[in-house]
């Protein structure tokens, strides 16, 4: 028994979250000392603001990954639902109804993802990848007319403050990211569905036998990730006055997975908290901000980010080994 405590402690001492957090702090200090202008209040706010969208998407992804799933349709959902909203407003619809329709679209798409994974039992990676293509293709063909880029009309009104405004000197995207982080934290920590999400990710069969409604909970997870995608999309669009639907073809979805896995959330489900996502987001924020100040080329930034992702995934498999076979043996 004593031995087992020791083992837990040594794993605790090595946890990926702590490693990543230490790296973040180290990089922060190095940049603060050697990079001119890094430590300025404006740069730090810009840093946080630049990763707030990523962080919000990461919160949605966290919920799905905890349930042993993955949502590759987030970026497509975000781009198309918000682009359609903007288009509707541009066509003369009121802001309220347009926002409601856009949000309903995002929820419907994520509902379909959830149904495919939970009820049709298609593996999450294929179901959401296919849905990503479907959402983008359907949106471009049927919802959004004209070019890839949908520009914000003047009638977007107060909503354009979401990406641009400040409250008490702090940019609203940062505030939104913080509020959502608190909400997701409370959902996971205090709600039954959050509790069940962890159990389903840990052992879906055991969860089912325990009387947990596994399938509806999985659908809920995807719908929450769809909600995160819509909020992230609104921030993106209002910050730059437009929604470029080609973002679906970028590697943004990998960045989302990057911050989730980097912070120490296990892709095998059941392990991770909001704190992990925050740590992962901060690392990417500091890294990208520093590299931008140092004027490192975008393509090289991608190389560096991808190497970090690989290292994070390797660390995940070493620190959170999951041997599915051990459960299947045992015949003496």
């Amino acid at each position: 028994m004593k031995q087992s405590t020791k083992r837990t402690m040594s794993i605790g001492a090595l946890s990926q979250e702590k490693i990543v957090f230490a790296i973040t702090v180290a990089m922060f200090l190095i940049f603060a000392v050697f990079l001119n202008g890094f430590l300025g209040a404006n740069n730090l706010l810009a840093l946080l603001r630049s990763v707030s969208v990523l962080g919000i998407l990461g919160l949605g992804m966290l919920i799905v990954v905890l349930g042993r799933g993955i949502d590759l349709s987030m970026v497509a959902n975000m781009a198309i639902s918000v682009a359609w909203t903007i288009q509707l407003v541009g066509n003369g619809m009121g802001l309220g109804p347009a926002l409601a329709i856009g949000f309903a679209f995002a929820l419907t798409m994520s509902l379909i993802c959830g149904l495919l994974v939970a009820y049709a039992e298609i593996s999450a990676i294929f179901a959401t990848l296919a849905m990503s293509s479907f959402i983008y293709g359907f949106g471009r063909a049927n919802l959004i007319t004209g070019t890839d880029v949908v520009y914000l009309p003047a009638s977007f009104g107060w909503a354009s403050q979401i990406g641009q405004g400040r409250l008490a000197g702090i940019p609203i995207p940062i505030l939104l990211a913080v509020i959502l982080a608190v909400l997701v934290y409370l959902f996971l920590k205090l709600s039954k569905h959050g509790w069940n999400t962890y159990n389903i990710g840990d052992n879906a069969t055991a969860a089912r036998i325990t009387g947990i409604s596994v399938r509806p909970t999985i659908v809920l997870q995807y719908m929450l990730s769809g909600t995160a995608a819509f909020v992230a999309g609104l921030i993106t669009a209002t910050a730059v006055q437009s929604m470029n639907t080609r973002i679906v073809n970028s590697n943004m979805i990998y960045d989302v997975i990057l911050i989730v896995v980097l912070g120490g959330v296990s892709l095998s489900g059941g392990r991770g908290t909001v704190r992990n996502v925050i740590v992962g987001t901060l690392l990417i924020g500091v890294l990208v901000n520093g590299m931008t100040i140092m004027d490192i080329q975008y393509t090289i930034q991608n190389v560096i980010k991808s190497i970090i992702l690989l290292m994070a995934v390797i660390a995940d498999s070493v620190l959170n080994p999951r041997d599915e076979q051990t459960g299947q043996q045992g015949d003496i």
Partner: protein
């Protein structure tokens, strides 16, 4: 007397301090069919796995063809001529029959046509009617067995071990199988045959060895046995009588109301038209050998098995017909199933003891507050770990780090917090240490005393006899016999369970 092909000399095999095999000496002669009989867990599989290189003996020696051997793997044993045909076949389903025959012997480049022709000739030489180009996944159980056997023969096996080969076969397939076994025997191959089917063993064997609790009971020519004497040898344990306080006659607890009744329940080939009842305030023991459908029967009742496989029949809970497609409504109605495989479907391995127990409460919607309350969880965990005497540093320890007995207690606690109105315990003491077994048995008795209907599925006869008030014996997917504890005996139960 010829020298034996395989000899085990005084072998012992220990798993984590439990003896699976203890000081067994065994000899297999050339060209004989040797049946290995015993209850579930008697050590038949372990014994043969030591011959086939799956397990290494803890002590003692394995002698093959007069030389001491230490096979490191089944592959090595196969190359030396010892083949084991497992219960679950070891073929690759997505490859063809010919490719499977060649498995492990592939040349760097294979021409499929050549492969098929040589496989065809080979299968014909064994007069096996199997298409070498067919995918293994499309074959029936018997044909898969044939391919397994062909693979063994192809490796010039001199010893072939069959682990429950006939359990999945139809009568006609069985007939072909035994024809084949006799042909192999004529070629001088020695065969070990593990089975629960006593008639078959009596029909085909030359000699029979019976194991009980990991020890050798008797080895003799088949003519020295009949069905009755085999059953007596399989169950006649004196040691365990003392442990389980048996021998002191026990009176059955009085039956309460009829809580559960099943009428003509069926599911595929696993559960066939079975009917039985369960009463309040009693332990209903369910005994059956592997493949008797006892677990499946109760998994249907608790909604664990999906309705896709449900083929009719009626289940009544307190007189009201119920039909659960998922466990959730069953759990809310108070039917709690405690699994036989706690690691696979019992507990949450990344979670603590407290979290696991509290998950039971949440799963049954019995938590007092709308949100998760950590004080409620801690209190619940404290109450139940004390009640069931779970030994751990504290309730924040991970379940995966506990011993089997303590894990089982946590799974039991998780079920009991759900306020069961009918509890189904599937092998409640499998992989549990002796001390914890006694504690779990005491809990089961208390549950019945408190008026709860308890169903206890077990393949361990002393457990059945020391706890049950009524005993249902399951065979081939149905409850075939019912005993009250007063009239039951190990012999009678075993007699009803074997076919």
């Amino acid at each position: 007397m010829t020298t034996p092909v395989v000899e085990l000399r005084d072998v012992t095999k220990e798993f984590h301090g439990n003896f699976a095999i203890r000081n067994v000496t065994f000899a297999l002669h050339p060209g004989e069919i040797h049946s290995l009989l015993g209850e579930n867990g008697a050590g038949k599989s372990t014994l043969t796995k030591m011959i086939a290189g799956v397990h290494a003996p803890t002590s003692g020696t394995v002698v093959y063809l007069g030389k001491e051997v230490h096979f490191a793997s089944p592959q090595e044993a196969l190359e030396a001529g010892v083949a084991m045909v497992f219960q679950e076949t070891s073929l690759v389903p997505s490859l063809t029959v010919a490719q499977n025959l060649e498995l492990g012997n592939e040349k760097p480049l294979n021409r499929l046509r050549g492969l098929y022709i040589s496989a065809q000739q080979f299968l014909q030489s064994l007069s096996f009617d199997v298409d070498p180009t067919a995918l293994v996944s499309t074959l029936g159980a018997a044909k898969k067995q044939m391919v397994e056997i062909a693979r063994a023969v192809r490796h010039n096996a001199r010893v072939i071990i069959f682990d429950e080969p006939t359990a999945t076969l139809t009568p006609e397939e069985k007939y072909h199988f035994f024809e084949l076994v006799n042909r192999l025997k004529a070629k001088g191959v020695s065969i070990i045959f593990i089975s629960h089917a006593l008639e078959e063993a009596l029909q085909v064997s030359d000699r029979i060895t019976i194991l009980r609790d990991g020890e050798l009971v008797v080895t003799d020519e088949v003519s020295a046995f009949d069905r009755d004497s085999i059953v007596r040898h399989m169950v006649g344990r004196t040691l365990s009588h003392a442990i389980h306080g048996e021998g002191t006659p026990r009176r059955a607890r009085k039956a309460g109301t009829r809580v559960l009744s099943a009428q003509n329940l069926s599911m595929g080939s696993m559960v066939r038209n079975t009917s039985f009842s369960v009463f309040a305030g009693q332990v209903t023991g369910v005994f059956g050998l592997i493949g008797s459908g006892r677990t499946e029967t109760f998994k249907i009742i608790a909604g664990v098995l999906k309705r896709d496989f449900f083929h009719g029949g009626e289940v009544r809970l307190n007189g009201k017909p119920v039909r659960y497609r998922v466990p959730r409504p069953a759990v809310r109605d108070g039917i709690i199933y405690v699994t036989e495989d706690r690691k696979l479907e019992g507990f949450f391995e990344t979670k603590s003891i407290a979290q696991n127990i509290y998950s039971g409460l949440i799963g049954a919607d019995l938590n007092k507050h709308a949100v998760v309350r950590y004080s409620e969880m801690a209190e619940l965990a404290k109450t139940w770990t004390e009640k069931l005497n779970v030994k751990a540093i504290d309730t924040d320890s991970k379940v995966i780090e506990l011993s089997g007995g303590n894990q089982q207690k946590v799974v039991l606690a998780k079920a009991l917090v759900q306020k069961p109105k009918l509890i189904i315990l599937d092998e409640p003491t499998r992989g549990v240490d002796v001390g914890a077994i006694a504690e779990i048995h005491a809990v089961i008795n208390d549950l019945a005393e408190s008026g709860l209907p308890v169903v206890m599925i077990s393949s361990y006869l002393p457990e059945i006899l020391s706890l049950s008030d009524r005993i249902l014996v399951s065979r081939l997917g149905r409850v075939v016999e019912e005993f009250s504890i007063e009239e039951a005996s190990e012999e009678k139960i075993m007699y009803a369970a074997v076919h």
